[in-house]
């Protein structure tokens, strides 16, 4: 019973496209137009993960088409906020066959679960991936507690 995993993975790729197709269809029903060129607030984009790596917190966001000047990262009172805007204009003089990459605005906030060292926090935008690394403050670092017998 050898399953071919590649076939299953490709089926999920088709579901991605089906989901986008549904998004477009719903948008068309509610707004009566094609993809708008003014950026709309997005809730599902960009895809991101907020991970506790042990000695630091990391936020990884997929932001294709955005460079370091297009995203804003800020920390305010233990809340980390990422925001930005992506414009995908139809180029001048071109006819549109397919337009899946919509213009979006986004703003996502995360409550930080522990104290972080703001001086050492870095944010790197490379190849369309934004990685924000927040090293934990010394008092929040994980530590071993020694177990004694008496």
């Amino acid at each position: 019973m050898l399953l071919r995993w590649n076939d299953i993975d490709n089926a999920f790729a088709m579901l991605d496209e089906a989901r986008r197709e549904m998004d477009r269809w719903v948008r068309r029903m509610t707004e009566g137009g094609d993809l708008p060129s003014v950026p709309q607030w997005a809730s599902g984009w960009p895809r991101m993960q907020f991970i506790d790596m042990g000695n630091e917190l990391a936020l990884v966001a997929e932001v294709p088409g955005l460079s370091e000047k297009d995203v804003n990262v800020s920390v305010n009172q233990d809340v980390l906020t990422i925001s930005g805007e992506r414009r995908t204009q139809v180029p001048e003089g071109y006819q549109t066959h397919r337009h899946e990459r919509a213009s979006v605005k986004f703003s996502r906030s995360f409550a930080l679960p522990c104290k972080v060292d703001l001086e050492k926090t870095t944010a790197l935008a490379r190849n369309g991936i934004l990685t924000v690394t927040l090293p934990k403050a010394p008092e929040s670092q994980p530590r071993q507690i020694q177990v004694k017998s008496s």
């Binding site: 955005l66 003089g93 071109y94 369309g128």
Partner: protein
Amino acid sequence: MSDKNVAKRETTDVERIERRRTYAPAVDIFENTEEILMYADMPGVTLDEVKINFEKNQLTMEGTCTCLKDYEKDDGFVYTRKFVVPGGIDPDRISAELRNGVLTIHLPKQDSLRPREIAVQAG
């Protein structure tokens, strides 16, 4: 003697089946009289991990992202999508660039197919 533990088969088999997750990237396709222009979102893919294949009017683009290995315990994932391209594209002049995770492909049309004015003569 084969390993009776079915759950561990992938580590004892000689053949390793690739199990990367596959996604279909979002794509924009535009066209004018000179070329067909395509944009594909492939965040995290670098120049050495992207492949574009054009064969018999089928264009296949594939990009692998392994840069999130520190955060996800797997081999990364693959963005792939295939398109049937209409005839009349000049394959020697196809060009592509990758910037900020967005792949841009230019498919120029053959010169013989450009629209042209035909002079009308009095006959």
